[in-house]
C-alpha cells in the first residue's frame, strides 16, 4: 500500500485502540453539553435558541482535545524523524494525519450531535441544519488545529498553548457555522449564504493548514 495510506490506517488504528478510543471526544462533548443547562438554567426555550451555539462550542473544544497528541506522540517516540526523512511530502503527511483525526474525532461528534440536540430541545429542521454545518465545519476545525499542534509539538505543556493559538483562528468557522445552523430555523438570512462561506472557509483551511503545519514542523525539528 502507498505510504500515505499506511499512515492513515496506522493513525486510525492507534486512535481507536488507545485510551477510550474515539469515544473520549464524544464523552467530552456530552459532558460540555450537560454543563450548559447548569450554567444558564433549564429554560427549554432559551436552550433551544442557543442550542446550535452550544453544540458548536462543544464540538470545537472536543476537537481540540485530541490535537495535543497528534504530532507530539510521533515526536516523542522518534517516528516524526523518520516521517520527515521520507519521500512523501510533509504537507501531504500532515493532511493525512488531519484526515485521520477528523475521521476518529470529528465524525463521531457529528453522529452524537443529534442526540445532544435532543437534550437541548432542538427540533428536526434545526438538528438537520446543525448536522450539516458540523459535517462541513469540523474538518476546518481539525485542519486549523493542525497548525497549533505542529507549533506546539516539542513543548511539554503544549496543550494550553495549542488552545490559545488555535481558538482565535477558528472564530470565523464558529461564526458562520452557528449562523448557518440558526439561519435554517430563525431566518431571515437564507441558510445558503453563511453555509457557502463556511464551505469556503473549510476548503481554505484544507490547503492552508497542512502547509502552515508542515512549515512549523520543519522549524521545530531544527
Amino acid at each position: 500500500m502507498s505510504p500515505l495510506a499506511a499512515l492513515l490506517i496506522r493513525d486510525m488504528r492507534i486512535a481507536v485502540r488507545v485510551g477510550g478510543g474515539a469515544l473520549m471526544g464524544v464523552l467530552f462533548f456530552l459532558v460540555v453539553v450537560t454543563l450548559v443547562p447548569f450554567a444558564v438554567g433549564p429554560d427549554l426555550a432559551l436552550l433551544k435558541r442557543i442550542g446550535p451555539a452550544i453544540l458548536w462550542l462543544a464540538a470545537l473544544l472536543a476537537s481540540l482535545l485530541a490535537l495535543d497528541r497528534l504530532f507530539a506522540a510521533d515526536h516523542e517516540d522518534g517516528s516524526l524523524d523518520l516521517i520527515l526523512m521520507s519521500h512523501a511530502p510533509l504537507e501531504l503527511v500532515v493532511a493525512v494525519k488531519g484526515v485521520a483525526h477528523w475521521l476518529t474525532t470529528g465524525l463521531p461528534l457529528i453522529l452524537a450531535a443529534p442526540l445532544s440536540g435532543l437534550f437541548l430541545n432542538l427540533d428536526a429542521p434545526a438538528e438537520a441544519a446543525l448536522v450539516l454545518t458540523l459535517l462541513v465545519g469540523t474538518p476546518a476545525l481539525t485542519f486549523i488545529g493542525l497548525i497549533g499542534a505542529a507549533i506546539a509539538v516539542a513543548l511539554r505543556r503544549g496543550g494550553l498553548l495549542l488552545a490559545v493559538i488555535v481558538l482565535p483562528l477558528t472564530v470565523p468557522v464558529l461564526i458562520f457555522g452557528v449562523a448557518a445552523a440558526n439561519a435554517a430555523v430563525v431566518g431571515p438570512v437564507p441558510f445558503g449564504t453563511p453555509f457557502t462561506v463556511l464551505c469556503a472557509l473549510t476548503l481554505a483551511s484544507l490547503v492552508v493548514g497542512p502547509f502552515a503545519a508542515a512549515a512549523a514542523l520543519r522549524q521545530e525539528m531544527e
Binding site: G19, G20, G21, L23, M24, L27, L30, V31, T34, P37, F38, P42, L44, L47, L118, F119, N121
Partner: protein, 242 residues
C-alpha cells in the same frame, strides 16, 4: 461454599462456570413471570397502556443505582480491605450499570414524550440520572485508559467513591427540588402510594432485573479474570522469548 471461594480467582471461575447457567435460567423465569404480570396489570385511567413503560423504566433506574452501589462496595474492597477480586467486580459492574442507566434514560424519554410533550427536560431527577450516566462513562473511560489493571483499579475506586454522592442526589432530587418528574411513590416512610396491582408486577420485574444484573455481573467478572490471565500469559511470552 465458603466466602473464601470469592477471594481466589480460580475458584471463582469454577463457581462462575457452574452458577451462570442456573442464574440465567432463574432470570429467564423471573422475566417471564414479571412480563406476564405486567401485561395483565390494569391500564392507568389517565395514561392508558403507556404507564407500562414503568415496568422497564423504574427497575432499570434502581439497577443503575445498584450498579454504582456495587462499584462503591468494590471500591472499598480495593482500597480498604485489599480483596483480590474487588477490582474485577468493580470493572465488570461498570458497563452493566451504565447500560441500565441508559435504558432508564431512554425509556423515560419515550415515556415523557406523550406525557410531558418533550423528550427531555432539565429537571433535577433527570439531570442527576444523566450525570450518573456520564459518571459511568467516565469510569469506563478511566478503566480503559490506564494500562496496568491494579493502578486503574485504585484510580477508578477513588472516582467511584466520589461519584457515589450522586446516588442520594438522584433519590432525593424529587423531594429537594421542584421537578416535573413524579415524586417519591414507592419507597416512602408512609408506605407506597402505588396500588398493589401495579406495585406487585413492579417488584417482580425489579427482582427479575436484579437477577439479570447478577447473572451479567458474574459472567463479566469471569471474562475479566480470563482477560487478565491472557495479559499475564502475553507478558510471560514476551519475557520468555530470547
Amino acid at each position: 461454599m465458603a466466602l473464601a471461594d470469592f477471594a481466589n480467582p480460580s475458584r471463582f471461575l469454577t463457581f462462575a462456570n457452574r452458577a451462570i447457567p442456573w442464574l440465567g435460567g432463574v432470570t429467564l423465569i423471573a422475566f417471564a413471570f414479571g412480563l406476564n404480570q405486567a401485561m395483565v396489570a390494569p391500564d392507568d385511567y389517565q395514561q392508558g397502556a403507556t404507564v407500562k413503560i414503568m415496568f422497564l423504566h423504574v427497575p432499570s433506574a434502581w439497577l443503575g443505582m445498584l450498579g454504582w452501589g456495587v462499584m462503591t462496595i468494590a471500591a472499598l474492597g480495593t482500597l480498604v480491605w485489599r480483596h483480590p477480586l474487588a477490582d474485577v467486580a468493580a470493572k465488570a459492574a461498570a458497563p452493566i450499570g451504565a447500560a441500565f442507566t441508559l435504558l432508564c434514560l431512554v425509556t423515560g424519554s419515550l415515556w415523557g414524550r406523550p406525557e410531558w410533550g418533550t423528550y427531555w427536560v432539565w429537571d433535577a431527577r433527570l439531570t442527576s440520572e444523566l450525570v450518573l450516566f456520564l459518571l459511568y462513562l467516565g469510569v469506563i473511560a478511566l478503566w480503559r485508559t490506564v494500562e496496568d489493571p491494579s493502578r486503574a483499579a485504585r484510580a477508578a475506586a477513588i472516582l467511584t467513591l466520589v461519584g457515589a454522592i450522586d446516588l442520594p442526589i438522584i433519590k432525593f432530587s424529587v423531594d429537594w427540588w421542584n421537578t416535573l418528574h413524579q415524586g417519591t411513590s414507592v419507597f416512602r416512610l408512609g408506605g407506597s402510594t402505588i396500588y398493589p396491582t401495579i406495585l406487585i408486577p413492579l417488584f417482580v420485574m425489579a427482582v427479575a432485573f436484579t437477577l439479570l444484573f447478577v447473572t451479567l455481573h458474574v459472567a463479566a467478572m469471569r471474562n475479566e479474570i480470563l482477560r487478565r490471565r491472557v495479559r499475564t500469559l502475553r507478558l510471560m511470552q514476551a519475557s520468555a522469548a530470547s
